[in-house]
Symmetry: C2
Subunit: 514 residues, 2 copies
Amino acid sequence: MTTRDRGGRRRGRNPDASLQPSREVNYRQLRNPFPMMEVFPTDQIADMHETALRTLEDLGVKVLLPEARRIFAEGGARVDEGSEMVFIGRDIVDAAIASAPKSIACRAGARRRDFTLELGSLVFQPGAGAPNATDLERGRRPATGQDYLEFLKLTHHFDVFQMISPQVEPQDVPTNLRHYFTTKAQMELTDKFPFFFSRGTPQVMDCFEMLSTTRGLSDEEFRANAHCYTIINTNSPRTLDIPMAQGLIDFARHGQMSIITPFTLMGAMAPITVAGAITLSHAEVLAALTLTQLTNPGAPVCYGTFTSNVDMKSGAPAFGTPSHFQASLAAGQLARHLGLPWRSAAGSASNINDVQAANENQFGLWGCLMAGATVIIHSAGWLEGGLTVSFEKMICDAEVLNMVAELCAGAQAGAAEIGFDTALREVEPSGHFFATSQTMERYSTAFYEPHVHDYANFGTWAERGSVDANHRATGVWKDILANFEAPPQDANRIGALQDFIARRTEEGGAPPES
Amino acid sequence: MTTRDRGGRRRGRNPDASLQPSREVNYRQLRNPFPMMEVFPTDQIADMHETALRTLEDLGVKVLLPEARRIFAEGGARVDEGSEMVFIGRDIVDAAIASAPKSIACRAGARRRDFTLELGSLVFQPGAGAPNATDLERGRRPATGQDYLEFLKLTHHFDVFQMISPQVEPQDVPTNLRHYFTTKAQMELTDKFPFFFSRGTPQVMDCFEMLSTTRGLSDEEFRANAHCYTIINTNSPRTLDIPMAQGLIDFARHGQMSIITPFTLMGAMAPITVAGAITLSHAEVLAALTLTQLTNPGAPVCYGTFTSNVDMKSGAPAFGTPSHFQASLAAGQLARHLGLPWRSAAGSASNINDVQAANENQFGLWGCLMAGATVIIHSAGWLEGGLTVSFEKMICDAEVLNMVAELCAGAQAGAAEIGFDTALREVEPSGHFFATSQTMERYSTAFYEPHVHDYANFGTWAERGSVDANHRATGVWKDILANFEAPPQDANRIGALQDFIARRTEEGGAPPES
């Protein structure tokens, strides 16, 4: 059996194999190679933007955090304290759009892990935010700290995940200490770009401190770039709750990145149409984005959307549907209308890692890719509309993402690739190309090598036990975990991080609220 | 339980349900809504075309059928009878490209089933040509006449399959009578555009006669349009065998359509590079296309490609890979270079209908869609690189194709869809949209309703037996077969068809060769 290092390169046990050049494709910094698809004509996109502005101006947004209402009021918005409604004039929104950065340099724990978020770049995250974990050996269960660590290791393993996401909630870790657990893990087990929840200022400040300590950053250095991010979900329709508003303010004040994502379902908390749902989502992003820019003009902020539809007979959420696909396209058009980097999402409503899960996830993925999404979250492992992350599905989806990353690298059709003299001329009619000059030069690097897809013929596959991709994936994630190696760390900084956590734990930690 | 009629519309048993307008989307005539993707710059595509012309001129093609060599020679090609090699000058090829129709009107058994093949149109076929059939109840077995009939009924059921393909080989029907069996089935069980194998002139003439009889066409009417098609695979590299060359001639002479598809695997019967493999494939299409146009200028002919890669360690074919995707893109660029309608293919190397099968098939499908393929074959059901067609996979893949067809219909973002007054204004912050004016007007028609995807939550799904998509698909195909209704037929013509078959059977049928 062979394993792969995190770049997807095969480490064979056969020493002869190491004499061959191995295929190396950079999956760490990707540009989207797919042509953009539009679902609505440009004038209708302008109408949607105009309607979103009108929504903010005339209908307003309910903002539950007094400090956020104060910032809006100081920025010129009309605030009704009694109803907690904030009415934001379009001049204020326009100024916020203008000051939001169009390109965000994201600094990870190692320079080769850095990336830039802007229109045209492409970043993947695995499925996030689930209360449950599942795999074929241990079954579906409330997620634990161990699950969190294992998913983190899997995320680190695959270069195609450039950002860390909060895949599952470690429910066995007390909420006042959970952010120490998740931050320590992100600092020790990976050098990729980390995620922090916005669960009150005390926890956020703890996280910033731990990150600065581990990375060796002064306050000034920390604020100068995005070193971490949070995800802000509005409470659709038109509500910004206390932790989310606080998170926007905290991250903006410190120059860290908020990804603003209204999570809406057409026909439930959003209009039943793609156009209506995305107009509402757009209005909510603009409100939240305006809060970040009023707090700290130029603060890094990523436009976002996650809109799918419900099944109108049962009210159940659906993902990877035609409406989900179109919603991604519409959001992409609006993000380009603003010029902002933006995130979209794949995902599945299926209850297990089956054909439905694969087809929904990949269908939603192509919607994101053709919409030009800068960050694609829930791109691997996400089941049950986000209630569970699956170890096997993460492995299977990573195969698809690797293949997409391969497409980012493009191909050549120069004289050497066409190969009239080194291939076409060398082979007689009905012959084969196994031994042409061109083949001999390229055979060890020509093609992507899968980690879970199996090309054995039926007889061989049956002899080996008729193992389907789902069950093969179990072997893959166990192999990755068994062979996991954390990236090198500065022992002094890690010591300081551990000291900080010990002290704060002794002090009682921090509650998940301000 | 509800079933669907062949347009994908739900037939509920609840009489109240029939009072609601139902969702009706035309899947029968589709236009490709996706932006075209290019893998190579235009000048490299021109180089590939130029190299293909040079290949035909300098390296030549081996043509095993004497009649074909005679036609090439009469058309001006240099023929070496000793080696059976034909060297085709570029002026001959250019003339053939010029006379090949750029738009082909395909006449089915009913006008609503007609479609046009040209750049921009989009037609799907299920997986074709397999010796085996498989399903979860009966297992994997050599395909029989019953399998053929059942697959034909499934193909007829889904509007998204506009063409009939020869899904499996009915191995229990003698080869001298098999074409009567498959033609009778296509005439009696469906009114979609039929397929005939090119297995010698006697069988092809029988098929044309049966078709004309059933459709009530004079010889002149038959020749005036494409009423059926065949698929021509070259023997790569650079060989045209006897039945294939004969098929090209027979179909061209009678004005019927050949889809020319070199089936090549990079690194095996084609160069290891996408550029080299597609250049070879392009040359072979041009040779075969030239034969059709020399036979009958203006004969309908469809450009084709099916190129994926082998696993270089085992030599096993792989499908739905990055190289397969890029090969589709390159072929699309060459087809557009010529202006011809063209076919590409999805497919899977997996041995069962699992996550690998789903991911490979859909990955390959998007390659075809973004390449602008006019006909996408093997788009449903195809396993083991074509050795088996699966009943369950056909159902699962049809779900994906239906969703693609939904995207073809597009969406609107007019004032009614944005719904400022009928949706956005009607709902308070944190409220829901279940009862807005806009929702009430659209809830029964807003969203695509799946036939196999399941949106039940985990608890409900587990209570119902934890059935995965694969096993649910068994219920779907059995339900379709149990409720199958053939389209209306002219009893006299069917009687004449049956008489013809009885007579020819008594005469001994026709051997599968000329």
